[in-house]
């Protein structure tokens, strides 16, 4: 088990390095000099040079990467070109919106998907099953930002139950903040919940076809007992994979949704930075999101080992 853990940890490290190189190179080829953006239209050459030095824009490609990556390790994401403040600070603030949002959505989709999926699978072929499948089909097909727009129209502008967007901050009180995140979280969760439901269902159906379910029935377990005691946990394995993938989709989806609800999150930060050509921020945020995705997938692998004893010893 420990060996397995260490191996996955190592591969995690390698992936991170690779990712950072890709991101760095991608944004290195950007035309235009950040320093001149920062100092505006009529800046002096010498001041520019000084600023470039300060921003670590001098030196060879490798040196620049080294400074950047080295900084990341110690939590120094560099200085924003436009705001002239440490990127780390800006990201930290945004993280307190984006992360809770993604988690909120993840929780929502899981809370919907698991019962719905199990319910549908246990009543396969029934009208209930058909209904669930139909709804999930819609849920997958609906563009979540459009759904978000409709929700704003109904719940914020017409009914005025929720504020149409914005984020009061956690200091405004937990529930106030949570309320502000509710519509976005729903918009984010809807497609993921639908996908998850379908995966849960089909995975369960596959498991229910396994020999050991027949064995269990032969022992005298009722259909329901067989389902709960033997099928569900086995069915979780593929579901975990999807959950892992979904987190990355949630983070990505947040980029759009945060812009629909103008939440001061990472997604919005990315867009502001792109408009301002504040590439070091883009660089860092992308890196952070990728880091999150990789770490989550790592956690999922660990979760496998927890669910599946075959993985604990093997490898």
């Amino acid at each position: 088990m420990l060996q397995y853990f260490l191996k996955r940890l190592l591969s995690l490290g390698l992936s991170l390095v690779a990712a950072s190189v890709v991101i760095f190179l991608a944004l290195e080829v950007v035309p235009g000099d950040p320093a001149s953006y920062m100092l505006g239209l009529n800046a002096q050459e010498d001041t520019l040079a000084a600023l470039r030095q300060e921003l670590g824009l001098g030196g060879s490609l490798f040196e620049r990467y080294a400074t950047w990556a080295g900084g990341l390790l110690v939590g120094d994401f560099g200085t924003s070109y436009t705001y002239r403040t440490p990127v780390a600070g800006m990201i930290a603030d945004r993280l307190w919106v984006s992360l809770p949002l993604a988690l909120y959505a993840l929780v929502l989709s899981t809370l919907i998907a698991f019962p719905a999926g199990i319910w549908a699978a246990s009543r396969r072929g029934s009208h209930a099953d058909g209904a669930v499948m139909g709804v999930t089909q819609l849920g997958i097909a609906i563009p979540n930002f459009w759904f978000a727009m409709l929700m704003v129209l109904v719940f914020a502008i017409n009914l005025r139950w929720f504020s149409a967007g914005g984020f009061p901050g956690w200091d405004a009180g937990f529930f106030v903040a949570l309320k502000a995140l509710t519509l976005p979280a729903i918009a984010l969760a809807l497609p993921q919940a639908s996908i998850l439901t379908r995966v849960m269902r089909s995975s369960l159906l596959d498991t229910l076809g396994e020999d050991f379910i027949r064995t269990a029935r032969a022992k005298g377990l009722s259909k329901g007992q067989a389902l709960w005691r033997h099928a569900v946990r086995n069915a979780l394995i593929p579901v975990l994979t999807i959950l892992g993938l979904q987190f990355s989709f949630l983070l990505a989806g947040a980029i759009i949704i945060e812009n629909v609800f103008f939440l001061p999150g990472l997604g919005r930060l990315v867009f502001q930075s792109i408009s301002a050509r504040d590439l070091i921020v883009v660089e860092s945020v992308v890196m952070l999101l990728v880091f999150a995705v990789i770490v989550v997938n790592f956690t999922v692998d660990m979760a496998y080992a927890w669910v599946d004893p075959r993985l604990r010893r093997r490898r």
Binding site: S163, G166, F175
Partner: protein, 494 residues
């Protein structure tokens, strides 16, 4: 506001009404605007967003603009002008303190003006100061400014946001911690979200009525609409989505102020780039464009058609829209004469505001109708500054020039649209030297006609400046003589 949110939480009209009552018994205000300042030094960048937040709230100049665009005494309570019109002696108010507690003295004024006109100055409106010969400190409360030539608009120039008086010791981190003499103090800036100001208790003049001011930056028009509707903000100055104004007007919770601005919105042409260097081509474009359609389509009717680069509400304005009546046939004819019977293709680069993005789509369609194809590219401001304003790499672009009395830009051949006309430069030189109002007025009219006849750019409309505010807020500026959100006189009425 917090309370109100709770009220909404348990959906009950009663809670709503009650909490709204609560919400209004207060002296703080949340004002939203679209653009966030890149930094907070009004004397160090072109970005108007800086003035929108700081002008006269935090920073003040020797003179200041009134809501109607008139030039009034600012930090200088009075001044004398020598006969030759070259020497201005300003008398400063007594007991003016910077927010850091230090007194405002003539030295600060000298420092500010010298800094602005220095060679390495980063002041975006350096032209305002180039006429200054010397700045001398007579005594702690008296400054003498000597000009190279008489300049009729010097007092006007001194009212600009770029000419505010700053404290030498604060220059170091002025970009993030501005220290001025205004009725409000800067307290906090959450980048990408908001800037907080608080009342300056020991203000030298009429103290502000509000204790706390929060500027929120909401770039997305939808978000803006939603934010106002949901009353997340008390006021939105320069509301970006004109199509929503009728709804607000219909809603008793809000007041809608549609003011004029100094923003001449033009379809700028690159006068050095063929075929746009051909006056006939530019004239053709001017006739191909239907102003009213753009005002209706892009601004939903808000905006005054203009025929030259001058604000219609100015007494010296001449209505020259006749020079460029909408006439596609004439446009086709002119193109043919210019040798472009088959039309041609050029670029149309659009900055973010909706007047540009929407106007762009309409203009593209109108130009296509006379055979001119345009390749539209939507640019972010930074890119626009880089490519169009700085790089002059464009065919056509749509932009609103919000600086007051900025016809002078036509005298600068290196300006992005690169209009290089010796006659006009001469005319403008005379204008600058002239200080007799009548003569100035004449010259100004000539200038307007000249650029209109040269079809330098296609003059579309004067940008309307919609402000939506809670019906109970009083004292907001309606018009925008300069880019400013002067809150010194704003208060809640209950």
């Amino acid at each position: 506001m917090r309370l109100r949110k709770f009220g909404l939480g348990l959906v009950s009209a009663l809670a709503l009404a009650a909490s709204m009552g609560v919400a209004h018994a207060k002296s703080d205000i949340v004002v939203a605007m679209q653009l966030e300042p890149p930094h907070l030094d009004p004397t160090g960048a072109a970005a108007g967003a800086i003035d929108s937040v700081l002008y006269s709230n935090v920073f003040e100049g020797l003179t200041r603009f009134g809501p109607d665009g008139s030039v009034n005494p600012g930090l200088a309570e009075s001044w004398e002008i020598s006969e030759d019109g070259k020497t201005y002696t300003f008398k400063l108010h007594e007991g003016v303190k910077f927010h850091d507690g230090s007194d405002l003295t003539a030295d600060d004024v000298k420092f500010s003006l010298d800094r602005a006109r220095a060679d390495d100055s980063q002041n975006a409106q350096k032209a305002l100061f180039t006429g200054i010969e010397t700045v001398e400190v007579v005594d702690p409360l008296t400054v003498k400014v000597t000009l190279k030539e008489p300049n009729g608009s010097f007092l006007f120039n001194m009212a600009w946001g770029d000419a505010v008086i700053v404290a030498p010791e604060s220059i170091g981190d002025i970009k993030s911690k501005p220290i001025g003499t205004g009725a409000f103090k800067f307290t906090n800036w959450v980048q990408g979200d908001r800037i907080d100001l608080e009342k300056n208790a020991d203000y030298w003049g009429e103290p502000a009525k509000l204790d706390k001011v929060t500027f929120k930056f909401i770039s997305d028009p939808t978000a803006a609409f939603a934010a106002v509707m949901a009353e997340d903000v008390n006021a939105f100055v320069g509301f970006p989505a004109p199509e929503n104004l009728p709804q607000f007007e219909a809603d008793s919770r809000f007041q809608v102020l549609v003011g004029s601005t100094e923003g001449e919105t033009i379809l700028a042409a690159n006068n050095k780039l063929p075929p746009l260097d051909n006056i006939k081509v530019r004239e053709a474009i001017a006739h191909a464009v239907d102003r009213q359609a753009i005002i209706d389509g892009a601004m939903f009717g808000y905006g005054t058609p203009i025929g030259t680069h001058f604000a219609p509400h100015s007494p010296d304005y001449v209505d020259l829209t006749a020079n460029s009546q909408y006439d596609p046939e004439l446009a086709k004819k002119l193109l043919a004469e210019a040798g472009y019977a088959e039309g041609f293709t050029t670029t149309l680069k659009l900055p973010p505001p909706s007047y540009a993005r929407r106007g762009g789509e309409i203009i593209a369609a109108q130009l296509r109708a006379v055979g001119i194809e345009t390749e539209i590219s939507n640019l972010e401001w930074a890119q626009w500054l880089e490519q169009v304003f700085k790089g002059k790499d464009f065919g056509l672009t749509i932009v609103s020039h919000t600086e007051p009395m900025d016809i002078g830009i036509y005298a600068r051949p290196d300006y992005y649209f690169q209009y290089d006309n010796a006659d006009f430069q001469k005319l403008f030189a005379d204008l600058t030297a002239e200080d007799d109002p009548e003569k100035r007025s004449v010259l100004l009219k000539q200038a307007q006609e000249m650029i209109s006849k040269d079809y330098v750019n296609t003059y579309l409309f004067q940008l309307a400046f919609p402000t939506i505010a809670d019906a109970k807020i009083k004292g907001l500026w309606e018009n925008q003589p300069t880019q400013a959100t002067d809150l010194t006189a704003v208060y809640w009425e209950d």
